[in-house]
Symmetry: C2
Subunit: 357 residues, 2 copies
């Protein structure tokens, strides 16, 4: 049975031109479970991860936090990063797809910002290589924050405390208030948003951190092949796979007009390919999938069984896997709300106008 | 000159059928300034103010904080109380009028939530007698959060941690999760949002807490008659006065279709009557007036001089009064973001649909 599944997964991955880097060994006794899990997963780091091309400093973090919460980064003055990546509700907005400028709908479900620094790339299609690239997207997207880099910089330069904070966070730069530096500061703040979970405690050696059902669910998660894609420190967030390796889900869940990574690579093989979703905090970030069409985690697991593994998981197995996924719900870091600089006469006025392209 | 002004103000107030409870004595030497000010103003209380019909407890405050930040109190799942009463930007949204459900505009500028517990009544027209009555308004308003009490209660009851928190906050009640109790909890949290300002430090005896210009501005604020309406602990927030006691401002600032308190009392004398705005944090809560049409504080002061006092304040006086108003910008209490309960299968789904009445 297991061999058949692994073959099926391997075949599917190979047929998609992909091979998981960490393949899964057999789950036997409970004693071996951790050893096996540590071959596939990694506990969260105990310190803020280093980020390529952006040395993380306390000054950048502090500035980035202000920016993350500042609604004046949007044209309307209504939305901040925290609107759709709400730190009170799992780091996302719990909507099918986000609502933005002019009450327009974003095209895909907003992923959680928690632990997102650990993803190999950002967005469902991986089109941003890191969080500093990602942060620039929604601010400019007409259906999200609908702003322009020029207007953002003008806004930030209009408030002396921001100018001071940029000068401190980017020492030695002649003109530190830039759109790029804004994105770097936001990335620095987001890199602090890690949520250690019971699964980490267990990986780190505490046998009691998982319930018996969660351990059974973990074993199933590895045995059935889920961990072939959802692996590593973020239990996913790296690697690109077709949604429907074995069987395409219905058009309600996989809308035909969103071809995923194809839009990035223009390669036929990337049609309906998405980055494997990182699963930390998945239990508190419904609804699911890039389309946000599935609200029940068990249903999402069952769909993945059919679509990616070609296996109709029974209700008992689904329940155990859901129990394991619950062990990925982490402790949210304490966030003290910033007090933002006040506007001045030079601050551009907010506009609610919707400019159609 | 002073006598003429006081007569003018008194006449204007009498002609509006109103008389300020605290009239203003003459400002002479700097030594007398505090004594005179204490006849008109009061420093913030050092403890959370008691609220009529709602004993404030730590449990209610904690629950109310969760509710204040919970976007699931809105039909769309997009807006929480904190959206328009943003604690990072002065307790308001810094928009002319708020943007709500369906990208609709609210009819009036959102006032700051900071120190609002000290207002005699809530809303620009005083139509809610307290914050627990106020809290129910925006949640149900079609252009704001567009929800219904039934759907709110269903939402809250669907999340066990909320049921537990209501049970703890309202002990002995058989069915504690109610729309009324939600409002009471929000009121309890909002009562904690006091912002002690340099003006309080000065009123409490620290001569150096105000700059010389701020002291001059305070003296002018009292001498010119501003303090006839903007008095008390919240420097306003009590008493109803016509906007345009002496001279009606233009239709851009006082739109003819918003007759203010007339809509509440249906009394002809209440046409274009509004509650005197509380002025704490006024320097960080632009734009100004119920219409939100004025973005510059100096301009707002000048308009008030003409409209309410019949006096064209010179630029120097305006500048000094603005300096004094800056001394009302308070220290925002430290707010740790709550981590909200996760939705369950029983939680009503968000809807972005705009239902036209």
């Amino acid at each position: 049975m297991r061999r058949k599944l692994m073959r099926r997964v391997s075949l599917a991955l190979v047929s998609a031109g992909l091979m998981a880097s960490a393949l899964v060994g057999p789950a036997t006794a409970a004693d071996d479970l951790r050893k096996q899990a540590l071959e596939v997963f990694k506990p969260l780091p105990s310190t803020i991860p280093a980020v390529k091309g952006n040395k993380i400093t306390p000054q950048k973090i502090e500035l980035g936090k202000d920016l993350f919460f500042d609604p004046r980064l949007s044209a309307s003055g209504v939305f901040s990063c925290a609107s759709c990546h709400n730190l009170t509700t799992g780091g996302d907005d719990n909507l099918e797809t986000s609502i933005g400028h002019g009450w327009q709908r974003g095209p895909r479900n907003a992923p959680t910002v928690f632990n997102s620094v650990l993803n190999e790339a950002q967005f469902w299609d991986g089109r941003a290589e890191d969080l500093k690239a990602q942060a620039k997207g929604p601010i400019q997207a007409g259906v999200e924050m609908a702003n322009t880099p020029d207007n953002v910089v003008k806004t930030l330069k209009s408030m002396p405390p921001y100018v001071e904070a940029f000068t401190t966070a980017f020492p030695g730069e002649k003109d530190p208030v830039t759109f790029d530096n804004m994105a770097k500061a936001i990335e620095a703040y987001e890199a602090t948003l890690l949520t250690p979970a019971p699964f980490d405690t267990w990986l780190n050696g505490d046998d009691d951190a998982l319930t018996p059902d969660q351990k059974k669910g973990l074993a199933l998660f590895m045995d059935k092949g889920c961990a072939a894609c959802h692996s590593g420190v973020n239990v996913g967030g790296h690697g690109y796979y077709p949604f429907g390796v074995v069987e395409k889900p219905g058009a309600d869940i996989l809308p035909p007009n969103d071809k995923g990574r194809f839009a990035v690579t223009k390669t036929a093989g990337d049609e309906y390919v998405f980055r494997a979703a990182p699963l930390r905090n998945v239990a508190v970030t419904r609804p699911y999938f890039h389309s946000g069409k599935v609200w029940d985690l068990g249903q999402a697991v069952a769909i993945m069984g059919n679509a990616q593994l070609g296996e109709a998981l029974n209700d008992g197995d689904v329940k155990l896997i859901v129990a394991f996924l619950g062990a990925l719900t982490g402790k949210v870091p304490e966030v003290v709300l910033p007090v933002l600089p006040a506007e001045t006469d030079a601050t551009p006025r907010p506009t609610a106008e919707v400019v159609k392209p």
